[in-house]
Symmetry: C2
Subunit: 365 residues, 2 copies
């Protein structure tokens, strides 16, 4: 069945109605930590600027130029009174019950919304922000045939799923000031957790003989206490806590380089794109999406060990901070991401595919 939505006729998007489903662990956009909410916000505001009719489903205290719909005023990671399991399903069903109002539902809420998808007619585009656990794959596999999955990097694709596109996360360049002349510190920016390599960042900085500033949410208390805190001396290693947008801009832009010595297959590194947007090169362990995010030897260095990373710090002067900005602008700007998602929406709607029909996967796409 071909359904004419007309939303793309005459290159006009203004009749397209999009529902953005954000998580409710944090406010959208988050005050500090909250990457999924941050990306959902970036997409929402970008689509509003393009003139689309956007409804954001998020917490009530969220900030948006879109229509805001919510069931819970606050976020469950910020409000101990809220039981996540209860408010998640109320949040999701609140949208699903209004599904017919929308041409597209864009899901940033992981797997649970998929289990409602065959009960409604509106197609759901699901951005998979990484597989929190291999255990969730059965849900994605079950809905593979009538879902539109978007990967946030090619590296994060599961061979068991079909994807309609890879759309890199995009950030608003206005939020990240280009800084041609950096300060001399190295920066670790992200969750304090073994998989993010805070410990390794400390060792790299010590080996390279440079100051390290650490900013991020302490997600693993024991790790912080045992592996990081002993080195925090307020001079060569400084921990500044979890940073909001203004401090983030200042820290990223001032850094000589961002250290990103991850030990997991990270699906996307938002802080990597953000650092480069400020002109700051990134020295990262060569895992997950890093080869897609970093233009090796141009916007940073891909390395495999602490020693290699420390050595790479000595080569940072060979990089061009203006190029880092340009690279991030061309690949990870909000504009680029929005255009990527508009292409996805267009593919879904042009085919006139309705979810309940179990189409052959993306015919002709």
């Amino acid at each position: 069945m071909r359904v004419s939505y007309g939303v793309f006729e005459n290159n006009s998007f203004n009749r397209m109605k999009i529902a953005l489903l954000s998580p409710i662990a944090w406010r959208t956009p988050p005050a500090r930590y909250g990457p999924w909410e941050q990306v959902a916000s970036n997409i929402t505001e970008g689509l509003v600027e393009k003139g689309l009719e956007v409804t954001l489903f998020a917490t009530g205290n969220s900030q948006t130029k879109a229509e805001l719909q919510y069931v819970s005023e606050t976020a469950y990671a910020e409000d101990a009174d809220l039981d996540a399991k209860i408010w998640e399903c109320l949040h999701i069903s609140h949208l699903m019950e209004q599904a017919s109002r929308f041409d597209i539902i864009h899901n940033h809420f992981d797997f649970l919304p998929l289990t409602y998808s065959r009960l409604i007619d509106t197609p759901i585009v699901t951005t998979i922000h990484g597989f929190s656990s291999p255990d969730i794959l059965p849900v994605y596999k079950k809905y593979n045939d009538n879902a539109y999955y978007v990967s946030i990097s090619n590296s994060d694709r599961s061979p068991e799923l079909d994807y309609i596109a890879t759309v890199y996360n995009g950030i608003n360049p206005d939020d990240f000031t280009f800084n041609l002349r950096s300060d001399n510190y190295l920066l670790f920016f992200g969750r304090i957790h073994p998989e993010k390599g805070t410990d390794e960042a400390v060792r790299i900085a010590r080996k390279a003989g440079r100051r390290l500033i650490i900013s991020g949410l302490i997600q693993d208390e024991i790790y912080f206490r045992e592996k990081v805190k002993p080195f925090v001396d307020g001079g060569t290693v400084i921990y500044v806590g979890n940073s909001g947008p203004a401090e983030r801009d200042k820290l990223l832009g001032g850094a000589y380089a961002l250290l990103h010595p991850i030990s997991f297959e990270e699906p996307f590194g938002l802080s990597v794109a953000e650092a480069m947007m400020c002109g700051t090169p990134v020295i990262a362990f060569n895992k997950g999406s890093m080869p897609e995010l970093i233009d090796n030897a141009k916007s940073g260095f891909l390395v495999d060990t602490v020693d290699e990373a420390a050595e790479a710090v000595n080569r940072v002067d060979s990089l061009n901070r203006s190029y880092c900005r340009e690279w991030s602008l061309s690949n990870f700007s909000r504009e680029k991401m929005i255009n990527g998602y508009l292409d996805v929406y267009k593919k879904v709607l042009d085919k006139g595919v309705r979810l309940n029909e179990f189409p052959a996967k993306y015919p002709g796409v």
Copy 2:
């Protein structure tokens, strides 16, 4: 809109198609502990015997004469590899996606299925097996206007919800052998948990100078270790573990009395009905559903303290074990429960109420 289903025409149920949604924490029926799965099983098998076309949604290793549908072979409380959150939503959606095959969905799965209810046309009858937490009330309240809630005792009704009926849990009399002459031990039968009063049962038995046998799943390890285990001596206080059906029948039937000194508003006490079905009187703290379950001074005693309970043990000889059986047969038999639910189904279908129409609550019911 009045929809004629015809299923009750000529007093014939044989065209009615019922889907029973059981939890998947345990097998249905459970091998040992698992009261919700037990009740779902009792209803399923009872409806099958009445000639209805029943489909049971439960774990794959469940046992039933109904059609069995499942997504997970095993139960998550019995299989550490299963993530409850993931398999619950797959289990529920598996049913919801086939909703149109059924005249009625009978939900024993707590609140999550309600959030799918407005997306399907088939009415959902929800048996509320107790409120696991006051936090779940918002979900029940949201769906109050298009749900059919059944309470398992009048005492368990929330003043904030509407109910279509109270249907007491029913058990199969064949599973509980009537025993006119008991042994001389007192019995505690249930979860080892402060709210079930295992500790109090020990104190009552000691005060009454009788042996106590304890059977049940240890749900609170620390409580068991500190408050119960010190008294377990294999003689005056015996812990026999968690009992399956055959041992349960023997333990309940042989008991001089069942002690049920609960400290919470228990919505229904399955073991209370089961004990009486064997002819065994029950001495219970007067809370929750106990005044509905026990015919005071005839099938047991309602008391308020350990001292009163110990004193009541001395009056057990004044009770008639045959009357206990009769009382349980008339109020808590599977037959009685099945007829109660058939009445509920009839009310729902006769009204021709479809969920999506948001009817005035139970007009004329």
